[in-house]
C-alpha cells in the first residue's frame, strides 16, 4: 500500500486543477450573479406597494420563499434532470436542456441570491431614516440616495453576513458533483474509487475547501477594515 503522503501528493494536483477549473469559477460567478439578483430583489421588496409594481413585489417575495424553502440539492436536480421534461408545445418542444455548467451556476446564483437578498434588505433597513432625509433634503433623487448614501453604508453592514453566504456557497459547490461537474469533491470521489482510500481522499477534499474558505475569511477581514475606516476615531 502506498503511504498516505504519497497518495496526497499524487492526487493533490488533480484536485487543485478541479478547484481552479470548476469550484472557484462556479463559486465566484454564482456569487457575483447572486449578489446582483439580491440587490435587485431587496430593493423590490423594500419598494412601496403601488399599482402594477405589486406584481413585481409578489414575484420577489415568492422567489425568496421558494429558494429558501427547498433544499439546494433538490433544486439542482430539478434544474438539471427535471427541466428537460418541461415540454411546452411551441415554446420548449424538447424541454429545457441546460448543460451542467449553466444549470449549476443558475441554481447556485438563484439560491445564494435569495439568502443575500434578505441580508441586503436588513442592511438597508439598518441605515437610519435621517440619512435618507438628509440626502433627499439636498435634492437628491431616490436612485442617487441609494447609490451615493445608503448602499455604501449598507455594504459595510452586510459584509459579515454576505461573507457567510459566500463561504457557504464555496462549500455547497460540492453538490455540483451530483450533476456531473468534475469539481473538487467529484475528483476526490473518482480517485477514492480507484485507490480505496476514502478517508484520505475525502479529508484531502475537505482540506481544499478549508483553504478556499480561509482565503475568503481573510478577504472578509481585509474588506471590513477598509470599509470601516471612517468609523475609527482620530489618532
Amino acid at each position: 500500500m502506498d503511504s498516505i503522503w504519497h497518495i496526497i501528493i499524487t492526487s493533490a494536483p488533480q484536485i487543485a486543477v478541479a478547484g481552479l477549473k470548476y469550484t472557484i469559477p462556479i463559486a465566484i460567478i454564482s456569487f457575483a450573479l447572486g449578489l446582483i439578483l439580491a440587490i435587485l430583489t431587496a430593493l423590490v421588496k423594500l419598494s412601496p406597494k403601488r399599482g402594477w409594481f405589486s406584481i413585481v413585489r409578489a414575484i420577489a417575495y415568492f422567489y425568496v420563499w421558494l429558494f429558501r424553502s427547498t433544499p439546494l440539492l433538490v433544486q439542482l436536480f430539478i434544474v438539471y434532470f427535471g427541466l428537460p421534461y418541461l415540454k411546452i408545445q411551441g415554446i420548449w418542444p424538447n424541454g429545457i436542456q441546460l448543460d451542467p455548467w449553466t444549470a449549476g451556476i443558475a441554481t447556485f446564483s438563484l439560491n445564494t441570491g435569495a439568502y443575500c437578498a434578505e441580508t441586503i434588505r436588513a442592511a438597508i433597513l439598518s441605515i437610519p431614516q435621517g440619512q435618507w432625509e438628509a440626502a433627499y433634503s439636498i435634492g437628491m433623487t431616490k436612485p442617487q440616495v441609494l447609490k451615493r448614501i445608503i448602499l455604501p453604508q449598507a455594504a459595510r453592514v452586510s459584509l459579515p453576513p454576505l461573507s457567510n453566504s459566500f463561504i457557504s456557497l464555496m462549500k455547497d459547490t460540492s453538490l455540483a458533483a451530483s450533476i456531473t461537474i468534475v469539481e473538487i469533491f467529484e475528483v476526490s470521489q473518482q480517485i477514492a474509487a480507484e485507490n480505496y482510500q476514502p478517508l484520505v481522499m475525502y479529508t484531502e477534499a475537505a482540506a481544499f475547501y478549508a483553504i478556499l474558505c480561509s482565503l475568503l475569511s481573510w478577504l472578509q477581514g481585509y474588506l471590513e477594515k477598509r470599509t470601516s475606516r471612517y468609523l475609527r476615531p482620530l489618532n
Partner: protein
C-alpha cells in the same frame, strides 16, 4: 417668500397641522417656538417636503404646490434645492469626509465640477470655523462641529431659505453656543432662515419674527418685542415654564 395657505397634515388620527396659514419673508430670520409635539417640526419639514400635508397651498415665490394633488417629482426636487435643511441630529453622511459631505449636493445635484465644489466647500467650512477638519470623518467630530458641518452642507446648495429643526437641542450648552454664533452671523448677513428652537434667548437674539405653534395652530405671529414684552397669558405661561429663576433664585 414662502406662504402656506390652509395647510392640514395628519398622522393617523392625530391632526398635526390644522388649517395653517403663515408667511415667511425672505432675508428674515423666523423663529418657530412652542411646546413639544405642537407641530413645529412638522411645519418646518413640510417646507422641505419631507412631510406631505394632505391639503392646502404652498407658495414658493411664483411656484405653487397644491398638497391635495400628488406632487410632481420635478416640483419636489425644485423646492428641495431652494430650501436647505439642518436637522436636530445633524444626519451627516458618516462614510464621507467632512469636505465631501459639503460637496455632495453641489456635485451630485447641481452637477458642479468637483474642483469648484471643493473650493466652495472649503470656503464654507472656513466660515463655520472647521476648515482644518475638511478631511476628517463626521464620527471624529464633536456634536457641535458636526452641526456646523451640516450648516455648511446646506449652505453649499445656495438655498433661498435655510430651515433648521432644533439645531442645538442635542448639544451641550458650550457646543450649542458655537453653533448659535454661526447662525447669528448668518442672520446678520440677512440670509433667509426659519428655525425651530427651544432656546428663547437665541430666538430673541436673532428672530425678526416669532411664530408660536400649539396643537397644530399658530397662536402668535409677530415681532419678538411683542412676543417677549407683551405676551398673552398662554405665551407668558409658556415662557415662564422654561425658567426656574422666576420661581427660585439663589443668586438674588
Amino acid at each position: 417668500m414662502i406662504k402656506l395657505e390652509h395647510v392640514n397634515k395628519t398622522f393617523g388620527n392625530h391632526q398635526a397641522l390644522t388649517d395653517l396659514n403663515v408667511t415667511f419673508n425672505a432675508h428674515e430670520t423666523t423663529a418657530i417656538v412652542g411646546p413639544s409635539g405642537s407641530g413645529k417640526s412638522t411645519l418646518l419639514r413640510s417646507l422641505n417636503l419631507l412631510e406631505r400635508p394632505e391639503s392646502g397651498l404652498y407658495h414658493f415665490n411664483d411656484q405653487v404646490i397644491d398638497f391635495s394633488h400628488p406632487l410632481a417629482s420635478k416640483d419636489v426636487l425644485s423646492i428641495r434645492r431652494k430650501t436647505g435643511m439642518v436637522f436636530q441630529d445633524y444626519n451627516l453622511f458618516p462614510h464621507l469626509s467632512v469636505v465631501k459631505n459639503v460637496m455632495e449636493g453641489p456635485v451630485q445635484v447641481l452637477k458642479q465640477q468637483p474642483d469648484a465644489a471643493r473650493q466652495t466647500a472649503m470656503d464654507l467650512l472656513d466660515k463655520v470655523g472647521l476648515a482644518d477638519k475638511a478631511d476628517a470623518y463626521p464620527g471624529q467630530l464633536s456634536g457641535g462641529q458636526q452641526q456646523r458641518v451640516a450648516i455648511a452642507r446646506s449652505l453649499a446648495m445656495d438655498p433661498e431659505f435655510i430651515l433648521l429643526d432644533e439645531p442645538t437641542s442635542a448639544l451641550d450648552p458650550e457646543l450649542e453656543a458655537g453653533v448659535l454664533r454661526v447662525l447669528l452671523a448668518l442672520a446678520q448677513e440677512n440670509d433667509s432662515m426659519i428655525v425651530v428652537t427651544h432656546n428663547m434667548e437665541f430666538a430673541r437674539a436673532v428672530a425678526d419674527k416669532i411664530i408660536f405653534v400649539e396643537d397644530g395652530r399658530i397662536l402668535f405671529d409677530g415681532t419678538p418685542s411683542d412676543f417677549f414684552t407683551k405676551p398673552n397669558q398662554r405665551i407668558a405661561d409658556f415662557l415662564a415654564a422654561m425658567t426656574f429663576t422666576t420661581i427660585s433664585d439663589k443668586a438674588k
